[in-house]
């Protein structure tokens, strides 16, 4: 059924449709409205058989979720920015223990300097932590990706982070189609854990692994993620067949068939980029857009097959590896190794800097210098600081 909802409320209702048994909650902007929404649904009895636990910190939130998952409960939590960093030790434990937890990351910059606005720095801090990572372009995709996330997590025994652009999506009112409880129940069967900690069947999980086996454990984790690519693609198709929306899968291409230049990105900025692509194509140019929906595992084959005919690839990303440059752009470059493609790396929107159609259009038409472009950078300010010896 169609609703006009704030993104966070839409996500809360979608998570509730997945019938989590445990929600652990600690607030941090911009994800707080999601957990508040879930609290309301638990308190009003709309979400039954769910223990909503207020905890004292983010590390408490993820530790509770880890414990609950270990006991066989479908669990959920959400965080942003420094909150994720505060969780980080346990983030690695959740994936190492193969617990299918689902967590929403309301994407926000990481300080210092402190900044509450949107970028993907927080997500990048978890990119090597062994979780599957999806990025939503719209609030409809955010709704759908949470339903998919629980199903994929439990089928692959991998935890999932669903990335949703902080404020831009979490605080935006837009139209979303929320599926019925029956539809979600059909798509997402009750969780049956492979093993769970119970008093009746005592055992230990997370024992120390010595050098003789540790490499094998990590190799298997890597293989498992690679194998998850197929499940993510197939379940994306199943979701499409059931709900009629192509929200899941690995990558989403727009006008890429004829495109000479393809702009690659993740998250909500894809919408603005598509508007620019349409404008440029109306002016007789050949542009396309590719959204990386599944960022981990990194879908190399899907990316290569989408970009193999492009002459130029422009990666627009909201993240920066200080001392290296773009992160997604380096990964795309590696994926396209051996293809005759010109690569352009654009870092945009850090700390909530506006990304406008006009800025993107100018950037896409500019001849590339080979250097990383920082979209909308105040060159004068930067140069005056360099002049004064940083």
């Amino acid at each position: 059924m169609l609703h006009q909802l704030e993104g966070s409320q839409a996500i809360a209702r979608s998570v509730a449709l997945c019938r989590p048994n445990v929600v652990s909650a600690y607030p941090i902007s911009p994800q707080t409205h999601i957990l508040e929404g879930l609290e309301g649904l638990v308190r009003s009895g709309k979400l039954e058989s769910c223990e909503y636990m207020n905890v004292e910190s983010e590390i408490g939130a993820i530790s509770v979720a880890l414990g609950a998952e270990s006991a066989g409960a479908r669990s959920y939590t959400a965080t942003s920015s420094q909150g994720l960093l505060h969780m980080m030790e346990v983030v690695y434990n959740v994936s190492g223990l193969e617990l299918p937890l689902v967590m929403t990351l309301g994407n926000r910059a990481v300080g210092a300097p402190i900044n509450i606005w949107n970028d993907h720095s927080d997500a990048m801090a978890a990119r090597d932590a062994g979780w599957l990572m999806f990025f939503a372009e719209t609030n409809q995709e955010a709704v759908d990706l949470h339903i998919l996330a629980f199903r994929i997590a439990e089928e692959t025994q991998c935890p999932v982070i669903v990335n949703v652009d902080g404020f831009i999506l979490t605080h935006a009112y837009e139209q979303v189609d929320l599926p019925s409880q029956d539809q979600v129940d059909e798509f997402l069967p009750p969780y049956k854990p492979n093993t769970s900690l119970t008093v009746d069947n005592p055992m230990a999980i997370g024992a120390m692994v010595p050098p003789e086996y540790f490499m094998e454990v990590k190799h298997l984790a890597h293989r498992k993620q690679e194998q998850a690519l197929e499940a993510i693609e197939n379940l994306g198709n199943d979701f499409y067949n059931k709900f009629g929306r192509n929200s899941g899968g690995l990558v989403h291409g727009y006008a890429i068939q004829e495109a000479e230049t393809v702009v690659v990105t993740m998250g909500s900025v894809a919408g603005t980029i598509k508007d620019v692509v349409d404008e440029l194509n109306r002016e007789g140019m050949k542009f396309g857009e590719l959204s990386i929906c599944c960022y981990r595992p990194f879908p190399v084959s899907a990316i290569v097959s989408a970009l193999k005919n492009a002459r130029k690839v422009i990666v627009v990303e909201k993240s920066l590896a200080i001392g290296l440059g773009g992160i997604l752009s380096r990964e795309i470059e590696l994926a396209l190794n051996g293809l005759d493609v010109q690569m352009v790396s654009v870092v945009a929107g850090l700390g909530g800097r506006n990304i406008t159609k006009a800025m993107l259009k100018e950037c896409f038409l500019k001849k590339s210098s080979g250097e990383v472009t920082f979209l909308g950078l105040d060159e004068k300010l930067v140069n005056s600081n360099i002049g004064s010896g940083l």
């Binding site: 605080h171 009112y173 919408g271 909530g352 406008t356």
Partner: protein, 179 residues
């Protein structure tokens, strides 16, 4: 696509106004997107919110740069921020003010309504957003007053909603008489 930018101060329901406008548009089967200019949600600080209304899907995520309409809930923000920035030719500005606003805008209509007075009369609080939404639809005709009423009811189901509905309706009728 019709784009609206709402200016005011924290606590005056600026963000809520944009949200209710989007709900009203949704109720008429249109696509609508409402979002705040984030991070300044302190009581009394200048606040901005945006609303886009369209017959088709809205993909654009930039702030509203070229509004068709600007709603100013508090005339003291006019000098504090660039409230008239980017208004399109033929656009209009609706200001909560009990006196006329001096401006140099060409091809832009500026209308004033004493929204605070009407809010105090009907709501009992100086929250002008419902009054301004009622005035907005009276001037533009892009949405029905019934949709604004339903949107207020969705956001505020209780007595407060009823009072705001009366305020919006009174403003709608007053503006229709003037224009």
């Amino acid at each position: 696509m019709f784009q609206v930018r709402i200016h005011g101060r924290g606590g005056q329901g600026v963000v809520t106004a944009a949200e209710m406008l989007s709900i009203a548009a949704f109720l008429e089967g249109k696509h609508a997107q409402a979002f705040p200019s984030f991070g300044s949600e302190r009581m009394g600080a200048p606040v901005m919110a945006f609303c886009r209304i369209s017959d088709g899907e809205i993909r654009l995520r930039e702030p509203v740069m070229e509004p068709n309409a600007v709603i100013i809930q508090d005339r003291t923000v006019i000098d504090a921020t660039d409230t008239f920035l980017g208004i399109v030719a033929g656009g209009f500005v609706l200001v909560n003010s009990n006196s006329d606003i001096r401006h140099k805008l060409k091809k832009v209509t500026v209308k004033c309504i004493d929204a605070t007075e009407l809010a105090l009369e009907h709501v009992g609080k100086p929250i002008p957003n419902a009054v301004l939404l009622g005035s907005f639809v009276a001037i533009t005709g892009i949405l029905k007053i019934e949709s604004i009423v339903a949107a207020i009811k969705t956001k505020f189901p209780g007595t407060m909603g009823e009072k705001n509905i009366n305020a919006a309706q009174a403003a709608y009728n007053r503006v229709l008489r003037i224009i």
